[in-house]
């Protein structure tokens, strides 16, 4: 227990140090709908292009499929840190943004040798964009700026059960909550001027359920899938014109769409793993209150990845204990580009699973390099670089 706490503390300290100088600017598309969706199912999956539907691994927490929980017989704590760097290209200009922050935490406990429970919090979407303009009225200089921030988060509780040796099932409940803000400011240099501050805020909350299954029809070959039920998502739109002292509020209910994911993976000689995933969520009929934004469509994600771990032995040469991963993701985001055209995202991934403390913990360092959008079709093309760090600690708490 003490050892686990020490490791977790070191991990948190590490993340904290990294996050102290947080970047906070994101995708040019992050003001679309609920923002850019993020998908980091596990430390292992990120390095493998996002392959997680059928992934059964005792050392990693799989957030995407609750059926994977019984795979681990240890108490696990997993913390995530994300660094993102984007180079945003338009036909005339280029600029760069950076974002760094904690990106979720998860805790799982094996309550029985066939059953595991887990809970945690993770972001689903992210909004982070600043736009500034400098101007003057009759030689009075001011800066007009808009800062969009927030996104949807999921606080989840999952239970996984292994009814048969080759079958795992699970169910998860997600409390979806989020706050999305758009702060408009006009700041004059002359202090005699009163500055503007107007704010649009959308609060969202709701609950949905996900069921998952993983089967092993043949030794080493896994098939998996999830079904996320659609649910009501309550929205509260607040508008505040602070100087004018006008505040309005409007409630609405929309549907958080169902999500379907399927995948397969093959483990070979205990050292190799290869997998493929397909995940989709239909945002086509999504409405923001009474308005249909006409900027949401069906989201697709295809992923494929491979992992190689030279040795699982704790006494092996350290470089042999490291897991080496690579993958590829193609996705069509759930929102359209600014000119109404569909976007396409391509990501190459690679990563390393770095075991520590005699393989009771693992630090997964994963990188995503790719592109979203096309300069000709979508006005903007983003070059993406992400580094995702998972620190997962495994400890046997209840074993005498």
């Amino acid at each position: 227990m003490r050892k686990l706490m020490r490791e977790v503390s070191i991990g948190l300290l590490f993340l904290f140090v990294l996050a102290t100088a947080v970047f906070a600017d994101g995708s040019i598309y992050s003001t679309r709908a609920f923002g850019v969706s993020w998908y980091f199912p596990s430390g292992q999956a990120v390095g493998m292009g996002g392959v997680a539907m059928s992934s059964v691994d005792s050392q990693h927490l799989n957030w995407a499929n609750p059926a994977a929980l019984p795979a681990s017989q240890t108490v696990q704590v997993s913390c995530v840190f994300l660094y993102q760097h984007l180079k945003i290209n338009s036909k005339t200009q280029v600029f760069k943004t950076g974002y760094a922050n904690f990106n979720g935490v998860m805790f799982s406990v094996p309550v029985h040798k066939r059953m595991g429970v887990a809970f945690g919090i993770q972001p689903l979407t992210n909004i982070n964009l600043k736009i500034k303009r400098r101007d003057a009225i009759k030689n009075n200089i001011y800066t007009k700026s808009v800062k969009s921030s927030g996104g949807l988060n999921s606080f989840f509780l999952m239970i996984g059960y292994r009814p048969l040796k080759s079958l795992l099932v699970g169910i998860g409940t997600n409390f979806i909550m989020g706050k999305m803000e758009e702060n408009w400011r006009v700041d004059f240099i002359d202090s005699h001027f009163r500055d503007n501050f107007d704010q649009f805020r959308t609060k969202a909350w709701g609950m949905n359920y996900t069921v998952g299954v993983i089967a092993e029809p043949l030794p080493g070959w896994h098939l998996g899938g999830i079904y996320g039920f659609s649910s009501n998502l309550h929205l509260k739109f607040e508008t505040s014109y602070y100087s004018a002292d006008i505040k309005t509020s409007k409630n609405a209910t929309t549907t958080y769409p169902k999500k379907i994911g399927i995948g397969t993976s093959y483990h070979w000689k205990g050292r190799w793993q290869v997998g493929f995933d397909f995940v989709t969520q239909d945002w086509q009929n999504f409405q923001l209150g009474e308005e249909k934004p006409n900027e949401t469509i069906r989201e697709y994600r295809y992923a494929g990845g491979i992992e190689f771990t030279p040795s699982r032995q704790t006494h092996a040469f350290y470089l042999k204990q490291i897991s080496y991963r690579a993958g590829f993701t193609y996705s069509q985001p759930y929102f359209l580009g600014y000119n109404g055209e569909k976007l396409h995202s391509y990501l190459f991934t690679f990563g390393f699973g770095l075991p520590f403390a005699h393989q009771t913990g693992v630090l997964d360092l994963s990188f995503e390099i790719g592109k979203m959008g096309d300069l000709e079709k979508n006005m903007f093309a983003e070059n993406i670089f992400r580094m995702v760090v998972f620190i997962t600690s495994n400890e046997r708490w209840f074993v005498r």
């Binding site: 004059f188 670089f385 580094m387």
Partner: protein, 386 residues
């Protein structure tokens, strides 16, 4: 663990170093909002309605009194020495000196010259806490002057004047009602201020008298004193006035167009600029003139000053320092009108100085030359709409 942490940190900082944030060059239109709002300037020249009115100010409890005349305002000084008990009954008044101490500055132009002030006997009772206007006393004194004194514009610390001994003798003997004296200027071109009885330097009479036992003197302190302003001039055409001491206020109403300033608009700054007629303005060297504006609750059609209902929660003040223009920040008032927190029934301009101080600001009205008329500049930002 240390090795891994070190490695990870090295990678992170390497990546970090490579990535440098730069300013987003894209405009607000990118957000595709219904309206991204705009920042503009609205200039309103001239008022839809304006009027200046006089209101009464009681200055009897002020710590100053004054005498003289300047730019159409004549200050008449009233003094009463009600308690003569220091002077023995039967004494003969030999000589009387009025001693008054100068207060602050002298209201004058550069060409100020000494003037004569006539001393008149007041024939009616008065009380400095209630008497307010010259009209209340203008028939209550003997028109014939008992004596004249000379007032000089020099900033002397104390002025002493001989007083008519017969009158003081009559008060001592109780053969005349002691209602005090009136000091009234003739042809003055400055106003001199003195400390009143409500200060540490009360005006006093130094009475030299003789009795059977010899000569002696006694000091008699003023028991009532005040000054009453007489408007001897006429306001030129196309002028509006604000002032204190002899109260003037001005009501102004201008049209704030709600089409160009929708409800959610932020008023970044609203300035009312007045072109000052310096020839009609009375300023004090050692007193800052503060203009005050306060929202009017009475509709312009129903303005009937001085009965004007005011919104004391919506006020602003501004020091007047430039000689040619006076500017007052009315951002708060205009924001209230634009946000429809209160209706636009105009504003009342007044002098925020102590109402017993004699100051006046004269400015051109909307009927004057277009370059001189009042002007309102509203810097505003219309709200974004998502």
């Amino acid at each position: 663990m240390r090795r891994i942490t070190g490695l990870a940190l090295a990678v992170v900082f390497l990546v970090w170093g490579c990535g440098e944030n730069s300013k987003n060059p894209f405009g607000l239109d990118l957000l595709q909002r219904k309206d991204t709002g705009s920042e503009k300037l609205l200039e309103i020249k001239g008022m839809t309605k304006e009027m200046t009115y006089h209101y009464q100010v009681n200055v009897g409890r002020s710590n100053k009194i004054m005498i003289g005349e300047f730019r159409g305002l004549r200050a008449n000084l009233l003094l009463r020495f009600g308690d003569l008990s220091n002077i023995p009954h039967g004494a003969t008044v030999e000589q009387v000196l009025l001693c008054i101490w100068r207060y602050d500055d002298v209201i004058k132009a550069s060409d100020a010259t000494p003037f004569q002030a006539d001393i008149h006997k007041i024939t009616q009772a008065w009380d400095d806490s209630s008497i307010t206007t010259w009209e209340e006393i203008q028939n209550g004194y003997e028109p014939s002057s008992l004596q004249s004194i000379q007032i000089t514009p020099e900033e002397t610390n104390v002025d002493s004047f001989y007083m008519p001994t017969d009158l003081i003798q009559a008060w001592v003997d109780s053969t005349e009602n002691n209602y005090g004296i009136l000091l009234r200027s003739a042809g003055a071109n400055f106003i001199k201020l003195y400390y009143s009885k409500d200060s540490a330097y009360s005006p006093r009479l130094k009475v030299y008298y003789s009795t059977n036992t010899g000569t002696d003197s006694a000091e008699v302190v003023a028991t009532e004193d005040t000054y009453l302003i007489e408007n001897t001039g006429s306001t030129p055409e196309n002028r509006l006035i604000v002032g204190a001491g002899y109260g003037f206020a001005t009501l102004l109403h201008f049209d704030v167009n709600t089409d160009s300033l929708p409800k959610g608009t932020t008023v970044n700054r609203a300035l009312l600029t007045l072109m000052v007629d310096t020839t009609q303005t009375i300023l004090r060297k050692k007193l800052t003139f503060v203009l005050s504006s306060i929202a009017v609750k009475t509709e312009p059609e129903a303005w009937s000053p001085p009965d004007i209902s005011l919104d004391s929660t919506s006020t602003s003040t501004s020091s007047y320092s430039e000689p040619a223009t006076a500017t007052i920040d009315i951002t708060h008032l205009v924001q209230n009108w634009v946000s429809q927190r209160s209706p636009n029934h105009g504003l009342r301009l007044g002098a925020f100085s102590d109402q017993t101080e004699l100051v006046r600001l004269s400015f051109y009205a909307s009927t004057a030359d277009s370059t001189l008329i009042p002007k309102v500049e509203i810097f505003y930002a219309t709200p974004p709409i998502k």
